[in-house]
Structures are given as C-alpha cells and as structure tokens.
C-alpha cells in the first residue's frame, strides 16, 4: 500500500499507509491523526482538513475543482499556493511517498 507522510506543525511526522482511492483526510481521521478535524466528513463544506502540500507534490495532485477553490477561501490558517483540502485528494500510486504539512489551526 502506498504511504504518505503528515507533518505536524511541531515537526512530528506521521506515516500512513493509504489504500488507493481513499482520501488523505479519511486515512488521517481513521488513524486518529490530531490536526485534521474534517467536520463535514468529506463533503468539501467545512475547510477543516486543510493541508499544505510539498512543492514536489503540486503537479501530481488532482486539480483544484471550483468547490474546493471556494472552500479554500475559508480556511482558519493562511491560504498558500500549496493549500489543499485533504478530503479532495484521493490516493494514487503516483502520490506514494509525498508529504503534507498540517496548519497551526483548522
């Protein structure tokens, strides 16, 4: 199973095995990773599964759809060019080994 790394604001690194087709958010919530609230459960409605993707990942991630674009305007922490909602990023083999940094607040 491909893995991804989630890096807490303090630097702590959590590595998750994520089945292909499962969202990064779902994998993080199932593993009980602190810092991903995902209040809406993956409906792109709450902006509480915000992550920063590493630069190398950007071109490999699925493009931002209009609903995610709108919701990224509502994140509690600063929106950056590499901001994504992790509920909208489904695992593929191509994403194996990538890192996502969690924001200070959701």
């Amino acid at each position: 199973m491909p893995e991804v790394h989630l890096i807490q604001p303090g630097g702590l690194r959590v590595t998750l095995d994520v089945p292909v087709g499962t969202s990064i958010m779902q994998a993080a919530v199932s593993a009980g990773v602190a810092g991903i609230l995902a209040e809406c459960g993956g409906s792109c409605m709450c902006a509480t599964c915000h992550v920063y993707a590493e630069e190398a990942a950007l071109a490999r991630l699925p493009p931002v759809q209009p609903a995610e674009h709108e919701m990224l305007a509502c994140t509690a922490d600063e929106r950056r060019p590499n901001s994504r909602l992790s509920c909208q990023v489904k695992m593929t083999d191509d994403l194996a080994g990538l890192s996502f940094t969690l924001p200070e607040i959701q």
Binding site: C40, S43, M45, C74
Partner: protein
C-alpha cells in the same frame, strides 16, 4: 419494481411503519447483522445499514444517482409530487451549478459574519426560558430558535414562519411511501403552498440575505431566473425542520444523560462536540434513498439499474463495525464521520449553519443552566424521514 437477486438477505419489516419509526434501533441492528445489503420486499427495494456501505453508496454518486429522486419514488418512471429540487434531486452538472452558489452563501466565512447575531438571539431566548423555569423543549427552544435565526438570515418576512414547520414535515414525509403520515402532512400543507412559493420571490426577500444572494447569482450569470426561486425553496424546505430536530434531540439526549450534562456544564467548550455526538446518537435525518443508475455491484451483490437503494444514516451511526460502544452517548467522543448530514457530493450544504445553531444553544445552556430536569416522557412526532419530537417537558435550573 426491478428484479432483485434471490440470494440477498430479506428483512420482512416496514421501515416506514409506526413501530419502526418510534424505536428503530433494534430493527437497524437486525439489518446490519443480516448482511451488507438487504432486500425489503414490501417496497421492492434494497437497503444498506452498515457504515461502510452507507458511506460507499453516498460517495459513489456516478452509480447511485440522485436525479431519480432521493425518496421511494423513482422519477425515471414516476411523476414527482413537486418539481424536483435542483440540488438534492439532481446530479452533476446541474447539481454543481446549484451547489457552487449555495456552498458559497452557506460557507464558514458566512458563519463568522452571522455568529454574533445568532449568539445574541440564543442568549435572549434562554434567559427568557430560565425565568419561566418549566418549558416545552421542543416548542419553546427546539422550534423557536431555528424559526427565528434562520429565516432572519434568509431574509424572510416575520409573518407565517410557522408554515415552514408544516412544509418541512411534508417534504420529509414525502421521501417515504404514500402512507397515512404523508397523507396527513400533505393535507396540512396544501393551504400553505402559495405562501411558500410567494416567499421564494425576490421582492419578498430582504436585500443582502441568503435568499437575495441567490438572486445575485442570476445577475452574475451563474444561475437562471427560473433556478433562483427553486433554490430559495431549498432553504425553506431543508433549513428549519432539520435543525429543529437536531436541537430537540440534543436536549433530549442531555436531559436523559445527566452525567454528560455535568461534563458540558463544567466545560462549555465541549458544546460543539456534544452537538455532534447527539447528531450521531439520535440522527435528525434517518434515511435517504439513491437509485442505481446502471447495473452494478455493491459488496459483491449484483444490483439492477433502477433499483431503489435505501441508506440508513442513523444505523450507520451506531454500527459497531465503525464505532466503539455505539449505543453509549458520550460527548467526549470524536463523532465526526457520522452520516446524519450525508456524505460526499450531496452532504448537507447547510451543515456549517446547523452546527453553529447547535453549538450556540448548547454552549449558552451550559453556561447558564445547572441542570436540565425531564418532567415526564417526551412525545414523538413520527415522520417518514426525520427523528422528531412533538414535545419535551423540561425544567431548567439556573446556574
């Protein structure tokens, strides 16, 4: 009705009967234990009651479509009782058009703007009820609060707002069969239909409110003239009776679990989590249908195109395959992932506003009320889709 494979476990009860609706939990357990997909011959439908399959069906909108209706009726073969909703009973691309606009109007940004106003109303209402002491938690709090704050935010007239309760009751009954519940609800709502449609028109909506913002999307070319009143209608049908019951059920849960109330009273910051747990434990919305848009397979079970698929949201919320001690009400639990708001593309578009209302009521109560004492058993209001109370006699003890 479509062919259903012979080897799917059969459950022979009626999920829209008074007995089921009054106390669904044992029926839920029996369905979950029967298999990942079960057959309900009474209605010629399939159903899923485990968390994994409920989540799976709701997240596969390409296979399990909404445009054929999210109730028992199949719009591909039967005429809907009202023009279908442009968001609930639609698939992309129509769904995307509607959702983009409603999602922006009901965004977390909006919540920041309306929060202070919603808070003020919650405090004034609860102060008044505390003076009164003995209250009906459903009428005077569960109904009174959403019926004030949400129509205010939509920009609706003050007159006749109680019509929204009858309208919501009818809309949610209409997702079930044409049983006595639906017949009675339709009779009550008939004289109110004109009021509903009139209040969806722009000239009757306060400039700047949620309703008016839908019409602004017509000016920018995102929506058409005919779509706008239909989407205002969605606010009126889905925005009140749902939160009314979300709050009513939360009060019932807390009144009946004094140990959990004590935790909330000691730490009002738990209000948001407590509301979330009550949504899981007593799901205000119990079920929704989807329709197989093509021949497919789910959990190894072959499913014919046009088969109606009933998803038991409330049962997923208590599936021991997903939750530890699912029948325990625990406000410190991490309840996110419950299915009460649905999931995926069609997940409730108003959920941030619903959470705001629930959080503010519970946090205000937590600060000002020491104890919520039940004064006798509640009365249920049966509905084909909603878990609803008709009355909940309570005594509030001031902190």
């Amino acid at each position: 009705m479509t062919d259903i494979a012979a080897n799917i476990p059969v459950v022979d009860f009626d999920p829209f009967s008074d007995a089921f609706l009054t106390d669904p939990y044992d029926y839920h357990r029996r369905m979950r234990d029967a298999g990942p997909v079960v057959h309900i011959p009474k209605y010629g439908i399939l159903a899923v009651a485990r968390h994994a399959e409920v989540h799976g069906v709701l997240n596969d909108w390409q296979t399990f479509i909404s445009s054929a209706g999210v109730g028992l009726a199949n719009f591909r073969t039967e005429k809907p009782f009202r023009p279908p909703s442009l968001i609930l009973e639609a698939d992309p691309p129509q769904h995307t058009r509607s959702r983009t606009v409603l999602g922006r109007i009901l965004s977390p940004k909006t919540v920041q703007q309306i929060r202070a106003q919603f808070q003020e109303v919650a405090e004034a209402l609860i102060d008044r009820l505390l003076e009164q002491g003995t209250i009906d938690g459903v009428k005077e709090l569960g109904e009174a609060y959403p019926l004030k704050v949400f129509p205010d935010a939509v920009g609706l007239t003050e007159d006749g707002r109680e019509n929204l309760l009858a309208y919501g009751d009818m809309v949610f009954n209409a997702f079930g069969p044409r049983n006595q519940l639906l017949i009675n609800a339709a009779k009550r709502v008939e004289p109110l239909t004109d009021w509903i449609m009139t209040n969806c028109q722009r000239q009757n909506l306060r400039p700047g409110g949620f309703g008016d913002q839908i019409y602004q999307a017509v000016e920018t070319g995102e929506l058409t003239e005919t779509e706008a009143p239909m989407l205002v209608r969605s606010f009126l049908s889905a925005g009140v009776d749902t939160t009314v019951n979300g709050i009513g059920n939360a009060l019932w849960c807390l009144a009946n679990h004094p140990d959990q109330w004590d935790k909330l009273h000691a730490n009002p910051a738990l209000a948001r989590q407590a509301f979330e747990e009550s949504l899981r434990f007593e799901a205000a919305v119990q079920t929704f249908f989807r329709t197989a848009g093509r021949d497919c397979e789910l959990a190894g079970v072959p499913i014919r195109s046009d088969t109606k698929m009933l998803t038991f949201l409330a049962s997923a919320n208590r599936d021991p395959r997903q939750w530890q001690n699912p029948d325990v009400f625990d406000i410190e639990r991490r309840a996110t992932g419950h299915m009460t708001f649905g999931s995926g593309l069609h997940g409730c578009v108003g959920q941030v506003v619903a959470r705001l209302e629930g959080e503010l009521i519970l946090s205000t109560l937590a600060r000002r009320v020491r104890r919520i004492e039940p004064l006798g058993p509640p009365t249920r209001r049966l509905n084909n889709t909603l878990r609803a109370l008709a009355s909940l006699p309570l005594k509030l003890h001031a902190a």
